[in-house]
């Protein structure tokens, strides 16, 4: 129903650059997740797609048509605002019904549609209340219901589940994914939550400092990070990044020596990336030997922090792994799951 394209889109306010030169094509029916740290320009990108913010440069294209000059109202997108933006003077029922009224949906269907949207977000009991009398999570669900009550061209959702408890969030996530698959509406979804990003997305866009760092399927982002930012952002705990020296196919750093990393002849500084789950605690000295700094049992696994040269490396161990603090641990890496990054640019070498 809608393909969205951002061409060299940029947004700045005076000297403040919110979004810098973003190129992105969102294919029809795709579920695209924008992921990145606070202030990286996710909301701004979304607002430009919605037409609430004029790009300082570049074009926003929907279905092959440049829509820079098209009013927000005529783009037919439904948005969940990060701040909910519910109408305080109306009951929740009226809030959810508002888009139906404004878009001339036949009156006879209103009650049914509102009811259905409200039930999807488990808000059926609160329809007669005003937003001021709801909790943060309930307001958020009301905002979500208001967006999904009709069938727009595009869904834009700015952290729609951020204020819900873990159980509700999981339930809503499943609902949303199902709804999107069923309605086949192009969706752009902003979140801080990696799990949400991984489970919902067809593709993930990682942003930082107003720029796109990587676009890819959840799998690609996880197994094939383009640079240290993406590598360090994704995964929980995230990938360990260890600075050291690369020479003749060997990487060395205090406590670490890994051989057989290709024939790379020239010596250079590099960063070794290794995910906690690709590390294995072994009995005898191996790739990496260091003192145990802390042990955090998580239930299904144990996260062991090792201290080396002033910073910590996190390693995933079996759930019953226990060892005294400050004792030596020996770690071996999965050699085919090691990443190397350039020290200065952070770009992937291997």
């Amino acid at each position: 129903m809608a393909e969205i394209e951002l061409r060299n889109v940029r947004k700045q306010w005076g000297a403040v650059v919110g979004v810098n030169d973003v190129n992105l094509t969102i294919t029809d029916e795709e579920f695209l997740v924008l992921l990145g740290p606070s202030g990286c320009g996710k909301t701004t990108t979304m607002r430009m797609i919605a037409g609430l913010e004029d790009p300082s440069a570049g074009d926003v294209v929907i279905d092959g048509e440049v829509v820079n000059e098209v009013d927000a109202r005529d783009r037919d997108v439904a948005m969940v605002f990060q701040s909910y933006a519910l109408y305080p003077n109306m009951t929740i029922y009226e809030n959810i019904r508002f888009p139906l009224r404004m878009r001339d949906v036949p009156k006879a269907r209103h009650a049914e549609l509102v009811q259905r949207a409200a039930e999807m977000v488990e808000l059926g009991d609160y329809l007669h209340r005003k937003p001021g009398a709801l909790s943060g999570g309930q307001r958020q669900r009301a905002a979500l219901a208001r967006a999904i009550v009709r069938q727009p061209h595009v869904f834009l959702m700015d952290e729609p589940l951020s204020n819900l408890d873990a159980k509700l969030r999981t339930a809503m996530r499943v609902q949303l994914k199902h709804l999107q698959r069923q309605l086949k509406i192009t969706t752009v979804y902003v979140t801080h939550d990696q799990v949400e990003a991984m489970t919902l997305a067809d593709r993930i866009v990682i942003m930082d400092g107003g720029e796109i760092q990587q676009i890819g399927t959840p799998d690609e982002i996880y197994t094939d990070p383009a640079n240290t930012f993406v590598a360090g952002f994704i995964g929980s705990p995230p990938m360990n990044l260890i600075g050291g020296r690369l020479e003749g196919g060997s990487f060395t750093a205090p406590g670490i020596r890994v051989d057989g990393l290709g024939e790379n002849a020239g010596a250079r500084n590099a960063i070794l990336g290794v995910r906690p789950e690709d590390c294995h605690v072994v009995g005898a000295p191996a790739h990496f030997n260091a003192k145990i700094f802390a042990i955090e049992p998580m239930g299904d696994q144990t996260v062991v922090s090792l201290s080396t040269d002033g910073h910590l490396v996190e390693v995933r161990a079996a759930r019953d792994y226990r060892a005294p603090l400050d004792s030596m641990a020996h770690i071996s890496f999965d050699l085919d799951r090691l990443y190397l990054f350039d020290e200065t640019s952070g770009e992937r070498l291997r």
Binding site: A50, L52, D71, A72, R73, D76, V77, A78, M79, F81, S83, A85, L86, Y87, P88, N89, M90, F98, P99, M102, R103, R129, K130, P131, G132, A133, R146
Partner: protein, 313 residues
């Protein structure tokens, strides 16, 4: 509030105590009294300039006031007042003239505010719109009187434009005279409401408007469904302030019409003035004032209650 006042007072006492750091202990009674002492001067002042004349007027309304003596009258002044056609006439005039003027002011101010509040120029320069309020009311009244007087500016202008063929007697015909009072009031006070309404609109959350836009609402739909309902409390306060002010409309009447023709522009204030200072019937005038005071309080209270309840969740 009393708590803070007490704390602040306590701190001051500690700071002023001798270097040894001996704390001054005060009795519970003193501690309770302290905050009242702090506000006492302001309260005394207010009591003197508002409450005293008010109470005095109410007291006076139970007497026939002669120059040399006050004769107790019981409720006679009130009884007479309620049988007096001119009193009811003045009440009606006040209601008609004030009501129409206030309605016009609100509607015009709201409309202007809604079209103007997004304009950066108006955001920056809204203070300019206060100018009409800065002129002395009596001067404004004189200007309007000259403009509307028989054969003067307004008639002349209308004739030249070709809208009318002969002079309009603005001040001599009932509704024309009322109209001149209304126009004068609207000219002077619409900006006041305009500024309040612009401020209220600018204070509203922009994202709510954006959300409504994305939901497909036109600007007018946003105004009727969202902006206006959210402005209700502000409008109520503005209407009450302006309404109280308008019921005491005096300068314009005094200067422009003196209640003519035939008392049809005589407002309550002018009626009270006439009873008090033309016929020197002070007790009677006081009774009329007391009635007005009570009426105004009741209406204001009703309005406040209604709008503030419906404005809440």
């Amino acid at each position: 509030m009393t708590q803070t006042a007490f704390k602040a007072g306590g701190a001051a006492v500690v700071a002023a105590s001798p270097p040894a750091g001996r704390r001054v202990r005060r009795s519970a009674f003193q501690r309770k009294l302290f905050p009242y002492l702090l506000v006492a001067p302001a309260v005394c002042y207010l009591l003197m300039i508002t409450l005293y004349p008010g109470v005095y007027a109410i007291y006076q309304s139970f007497f026939f006031v002669r120059f040399n003596e006050w004769i107790p009258a019981g409720f006679d002044n009130y009884v007479e007042l309620f049988q007096h056609d001119e009193f009811w006439g003045a009440l009606w005039n006040t209601f008609v003239i004030g009501g129409i003027a206030l309605t016009l002011e609100c509607v015009i101010a709201l409309a202007l505010a809604y079209y103007a509040y997004r304009d950066p120029l108006i955001r920056g320069w809204r203070i300019v719109f206060l100018l009409p309020m800065l002129f002395m009311p009596s001067a404004v009244a004189f200007i309007w009187k000259l403009a509307f007087a028989d054969g003067r500016v307004i008639s002349d202008l209308l004739m030249r434009v070709g809208l009318i063929t002969e002079n309009i007697d603005f001040l001599g015909v009932v509704w024309n005279a009322r109209l001149t009072l209304i126009v004068a009031d609207v000219w002077q006070w619409t900006p006041f409401l305009f500024i309040i309404f612009v401020a209220a609109l600018q204070a509203q959350d922009k994202e709510i408007e954006e959300a409504a836009r994305l939901d497909g609402a036109s600007w007018s739909a946003i105004f009727w469904n969202i902006s206006l309902p959210l402005m209700k409390p502000v409008i109520a306060v503005a209407v009450i302030l302006r309404g109280i002010d308008i019921t005491t409309m005096f300068a314009n009447v005094f200067i422009m019409t003196q209640g003519t023709p035939g008392g049809t522009t005589e407002t309550i204030s002018f009626f009270i003035y006439r009873m008090g200072f033309r016929t020197f019937n002070f007790g009677y005038a006081s009774a009329a004032s007391a009635v007005m005071l009570i009426l105004t309080l009741i209406i204001a209270q009703l309005l406040l209650k209604r709008f503030f309840r419906s404005g809440r969740a």
